[in-house]
């Protein structure tokens, strides 16, 4: 168990491509940190640099107080779980899990005891003598975990360990990994592109884009106070809705009507250089069916025609099309491409609202929507910065 410190870590490939740029992070002993971002954002490269599988171009990497930049992976005392699991196909489960200890020339009895202990924790005892080819996907995943935990390393590095499992198993394993990490108290760095995994697993989440860290914080911080458009759009499912807006006479003019500047928003915008054209971000749950809201005076009410109504039991998601053009920036285009929204070929700009199941919203009919104007976010379209973020 150890603290991992990344100082100005940069990865530049020989062809000049910059994969990771000036990555700074201190991962506390026993902390569970998630690196999340769309594919190609440099999260796996960062993990490989911590593991020693890729060279660090610039910066300093410290594990447990020691600079390990030039140490081979085997001298860093870290364990890694791969997306493909990378189980040794010619060894049975027992040998797979004990491989690292065997290389470390541990005593046979010690190896056996540790492997059996790990197998007990992961419920693999009856499979110890089987080959990976004869295991199910979930079992293979557990063997990969077992290979990491028998070593009692300074840190676990996990590279999308759950992305090859089916949805149901993924949720189960997610819970199991969280419980296991808490029980062992081992520093863990976990890479994923799935923001739900990031939100549910991590003590802290690092959102990356194009090799640059966007924001580091607890899942709740990222959700409540995203620093920019990218983080705002990436975190949350369904994602935040973005509307083009102009600031006019103390209110925000959007295609949903003029949104009043509530105190919270006004206070935060004060003393900042606020351009006239803005982007307003509204989380789906900040909408409500106007008929179900008592205190309408604090927010804003508008009317829209429901395109699609999706009921998931506890909530009802209502999709409607906003007439005004979408708020278009590079960040939003990238987010749309990453989520596949760009490929669905839908015209117009979709807005999603999460309503109480008591709503009477019906497809094709108009609906009065209330939105909590005190919870909106205001972004600068040029820089993508969240102007309503408490810091900066």
């Amino acid at each position: 168990m150890a603290e991992i410190v990344l100082e100005g870590i940069t990865k530049r490939y020989p062809d000049g491509a910059l994969a990771v740029q000036d990555f700074n992070l201190t991962i506390a002993d026993g902390e569970f940190v998630i690196l999340v971002g769309p594919s190609g954002c440099g999260k796996s490269t960062t993990l490989n640099m911590i593991a020693g599988l890729e060279d660090i171009t610039e910066g300093t990497l410290r594990i447990d107080g020691q600079v390990v930049n030039d140490r081979a992976p085997k001298d860093r005392d870290i364990a890694m779980v791969f997306q493909s699991y990378a189980l040794y196909p010619h060894m049975n489960v027992r040998d797979n899990m004990g491989f690292a200890l065997r290389l470390a020339k541990a005593d046979k009895a010690v190896i056996n005891a540790k492997v059996e202990e790990a197998a007990r924790i992961l419920d693999l005892t009856q499979h110890l003598d089987r080959k990976p080819a004869n295991l199910s996907g979930g079992q293979r995943q557990r063997v990969a975990m077992g290979r990491a935990i028998v070593r009692d390393p300074k840190a676990f590095l996990m590279d999308e360990p759950l992305s090859n499992l089916d949805a149901k198993l993924r949720v189960q394993m997610r819970t199991q990994i969280a419980a296991l990490q808490r029980r062992l108290g081992t520093t863990t760095v976990y890479v994923t592109h799935d923001q739900v995994e990031a939100m549910t697993l991590g003590d802290r989440v690092v959102v990356m884009r194009g090799g640059v860290v966007q924001q580091v914080g607890t899942p709740q911080e990222l959700y409540d106070e995203p620093v920019n458009l990218f983080v705002a759009g990436f975190i949350g499912s369904p994602g935040m809705n973005f509307l083009a807006a102009t600031l006019e006479q103390g209110s925000l003019r959007t295609s949903l009507g003029d949104l009043p500047l509530e105190d919270r928003v006004r206070r935060r915008l004060e003393g900042r250089d606020v351009p006239r054209d803005l982007i307003v971000g509204i989380r789906p749950e900040d909408f409500e069916d106007a008929a179900l809201v008592d205190e309408r005076h604090t927010g804003h009410t508008c009317s829209a025609t429901v395109d699609v109504r999706e009921s998931v039991g506890s909530d009802v998601y209502v999709h409607f099309t906003e007439e005004g053009g979408p708020a278009g920036t590079a960040e939003l285009a990238e987010l749309a491409a990453d989520s596949g929204r760009a490929d669905t070929g839908m015209q117009g700009h979709r807005i999603v609202a999460r309503l109480s199941p008591a709503t009477r919203a019906a497809e094709g009919s108009p609906l009065d929507l209330w939105l909590d104007a005190s919870r909106i976010h205001v972004f600068d379209p040029a820089t993508g910065i969240n102007l309503t973020h408490p810091e900066r």
């Binding site: 493909s84 189980l87 040794y88 080959k131 990976p132 996907g137 293979r140 090859n164």
Partner: protein, 277 residues
Amino acid sequence: MMSHRNRTLTGWGVVNVLVVLYALFPVWWIVALSFKDPSTLSDGNFVPRKWTWENYHGIFQTSEFTRALINSIGIAVIATTIAVVLGTMAAYAVARLRFPGKRLLIGMSLLIAMFPPISLVSPLFNIERVLGIFDTWVGLIIPYMTFSLPLAIYTLSAFFREIPWDLEKAAKVDGATPWQAFRLVIAPLAAPGVFTTGILVFIFCWNDFLFAISLTSTTAARTVPAAIAFFTGSSQFQQPTGSIAAAAVVITVPIVIFVLLFQRRIVAGLTAGAVKG
């Protein structure tokens, strides 16, 4: 519908039988000859009238054949071992590493494979005489190794490319040195490829006639294919047909055993289950 399929099957069956007959007929002819009594050698029968082990007895009686058999086995095994070991390491480098001159290396090895061996025989003859390795085991092992290495590198690098990168990374993180990762993880997985290559190289060395006849002059290093050419009959006027046939059968048997022994290993998909599935 059914009859159409049946007719297709019958057609293919007939073609198969014809091909097998065509391929095996000379083999059977040699086997039959080797069992024929000298008096019935030229009677033209497919099946020997008088079965005899005399030809086999005969070739093992003189040191001419036994010595050649030892030479053949020794030279082929050593050349194969060296070629496969070197080829494995070179193929690994070709498949996994980036280094300057990689394309040159591949090109050079292809070049060697494309050279007609006959054009190299006389230079080799002179070189080997000057170096004093003419008519020695080394004098044959070196050209065999050289000519089989390109083949070994090519087949093996294809096998190495099939092995997932992640396995090696996992081994490194598990604490293996590059050599340990290669020996304990990569090499066992490449084993089917190594066996396949080994068999191909062995057959090449075992069957070679050109180098064996050109680079040897005595029984010191003469291999079986060359030695057979020096067989004489028991009298000046007798053709050594029976002995030649028996010797040919004797040197074919090891190859058949080799292939039968290892074909299951060649086919076995050892990498199954390494990654998701």
